[in-house]
């Protein structure tokens, strides 16, 4: 391959990347509109657009603006941060199986939030919930990376992640067990399933600042992820402080996931799936993967959240259940694909 051919190939790849990113962004916009148009009360697309431009009946206005809009905003924000967190963790660990939910971050954040709910420490619409959830998420990811060590193989990471998420799950179960009020137990059980239903702008205000801060931190480390693909020592020689990078990524993931979990409960596997969907299109550069993964995450969560409103069922399906039902088989498929690497880890 000549130099010209190489440059041409690079240009084609770049064009494809931009095209894919733009198409994804358009898809997210389209899904956002679809989400605003979906709900138990049938509103025509015309009525929805009318409301968005300030018209419509007061019932339609309240339904679209105060019920569907906050829900949609949260779906976009939370889907994005989950996709972004997955891509960032995969970049940091140079490991395609890394994701917040496999590392127990949402489960730990949920434990933190459940503590607040179970003991009635604060209003569920106060900042106490995201703050405690973030602290718990930070603790879990920090513990995981500390236990697994710097150059941990797949197997150790997954085992440590499994242990931490099981522990968070057990701690949550203990809190439910100790709670004497049956309503509290029911509330927690529902909450753990993960849902965007009936959220309001109060919830948006709760989660968005943390999600935005987490996203900013993760996006700012893009070039460091790229340097890391060359190996930790090479990255260090390029001026990347790997210890600081780890801490920043943990903080970013904890802020994003903690903030998200605090208002929706646990929504898993978006962070695992989104970067994988983007890799064949975007390529393996972790820096370039960040934004498309965020967009893919937003699109995935929007689709899932629209689906739970459309799928006919006697009781409403929780979106967290749906993402896990789809996400776990995907995880199994990934394990199958990585079988050789995993086998190597054992030997």
């Amino acid at each position: 391959m000549s130099v010209q051919d190489f440059a041409f190939a690079a240009e084609v790849a770049a064009r494809r990347r931009w095209g894919a990113t733009a198409a994804l962004a358009a898809l997210v916009v389209l899904l956002t509109l679809l989400s605003l148009g979906t709900g138990p009360v049938r509103l025509s697309p015309l009525a929805v657009t009318e409301v968005l431009f300030g018209g419509g009946s007061d019932v339609a206005q309240v339904i679209v603006r105060e019920i569907r809009l906050p829900r949609t905003i949260l779906a976009v924000a939370i889907g994005s941060i989950l996709g972004l967190s997955g891509a960032a963790l995969q970049g940091l660990l140079r490991n395609p199986l890394a994701s917040p939910s496999l590392f127990g971050a949402p489960q730990s954040a949920a434990f933190g939030a459940v503590l607040v709910i179970a003991f009635g420490l604060a209003d569920v619409r106060s900042y106490a919930l995201p703050v405690v959830a973030i602290i718990a998420a930070f603790g879990s990811v920090f513990a995981l990376l500390a236990i697994a060590g710097r150059n941990a193989g797949l197997l150790i990471l997954i085992l440590a992640g499994l242990a931490i998420s099981s522990f968070a799950g057990a701690a949550t179960a203990l809190v439910m067990n100790l709670s004497s009020n049956p309503f509290v137990v029911l509330e927690i059980a529902f909450w753990l399933l993960g849902s965007l239903e009936d959220r309001s702008f109060v919830h948006v205000a709760l989660a968005l600042p943390f999600i935005a801060a987490g996203a900013a931190i993760l996006l700012s480390q893009a070039s460091a992820f790229r340097a890391l693909t060359l190996g930790e020592e090479a990255a260090q020689s390029l001026g990347v402080d790997v210890g600081r990078l780890r801490l920043l990524v943990i903080t970013g993931v904890a802020l994003g996931v903690g903030g998200a979990v605090a208002v929706t409960g646990t929504i898993g596997f978006i962070g695992l799936v989104a970067p994988h969907l983007m890799r064949p299109v975007i390529g393996h550069d972790p820096a370039r993967l960040l934004v498309p993964s965020a967009l893919a995450g937003a699109a995935l969560l929007l689709v899932a959240d629209i689906a739970v409103r459309i799928i006919p069922s006697t009781s409403d399906i929780k979106v967290g259940v749906l993402t896990s039902i789809i996400g776990v088989p995907f995880f199994l498929y990934l394990i199958m694909r990585e079988r050789r690497a995993l086998g190597g880890g054992v030997a």
């Binding site: 709900g39 019932v59 209003d123 569920v124 509330e187 529902f190 239903e197 702008f201 009781s315 409403d316």
Partner: protein, 318 residues
Amino acid sequence: MLEERSGWGLFPQYDLRRYPHPNPPPQAGEGAQRRRSRHFASRCIVFALSILLSAMLPSIASAAGPRIVSMNVCSDQLVLSLADSDQILGLSRFARDAWQSWAADKAQRYPTLSGGAEDVLVLKPDIVVVSLFDKRATRDLLKAQGLNLVEFTVPRTLEEVREQIHAMGDVLQHLDRAQAEIARLDAAIARARAAASDRHYRVLPLERRGFVAGDDSLINSLLREVGLTNAAGELGFHAGGFASLEAIIKLRPDFILVAEAGDRAEDDGRAFLLHPALQRFYPPDKRIVLPERLTVCGGVMLADALDRLTEELQRVTR
């Protein structure tokens, strides 16, 4: 008798706390004149003699009516309002929980049970009142031990409530009190019906998370009896279910009926009722508030519930 006396003398507080006072102070409106005067007399005698009398009284009192243990918070309410205090050997562990127990204050004076079979067996009651919702294994064990179990269901209509009050009066051998309570209930119904004044307001009873009770619920019977329309029917919830915020806002019932008035959301279920969209159409003066402890059981407290409903109707329709 001497041993018994020394027992009382050694651990009087202990015994008083664990078991009902054998000779409690007379309550206003209950207790026979005969026992009141006896109590008064016992106060006049010397201290040692009064102890002796207290120790003897349980056997006298048990002749008056069966001694009873209640294992369910709802039967607790009936027992507390119909029984003589020396008939009550133990109440359910939720009896003192003011959130669900209407007679929580009264229940403070009686021992509460663990919920298992052991302490019931030790108390050796004449009758154990249980709900069909209590643990099956515990009920079966008590039956197998030869205890006399009376099972109560959860009433779904006001007629069933009347029947249960009557049945409990029968069990406790205080039918007169039961009749009085039923009369009190009927009077409260009449007052609430007058307050609703046949205007057939559409009321949507809304529980946490938007749960709407179905047609065969007590709250539905209550609303119908009073002359209000349960808007849940228009939502298509004949068997009960979760209503969506959107559907409620589209339906626009005249009032929503909730259990709490405050604006603190201790969990998501409560946050549903405080969603800004719902608050916009249902500010406090569109919310009829009936505390949970007045409606969670069907019993004598329904008279209070209905009086509260009367007050609330007067407030919101002003």
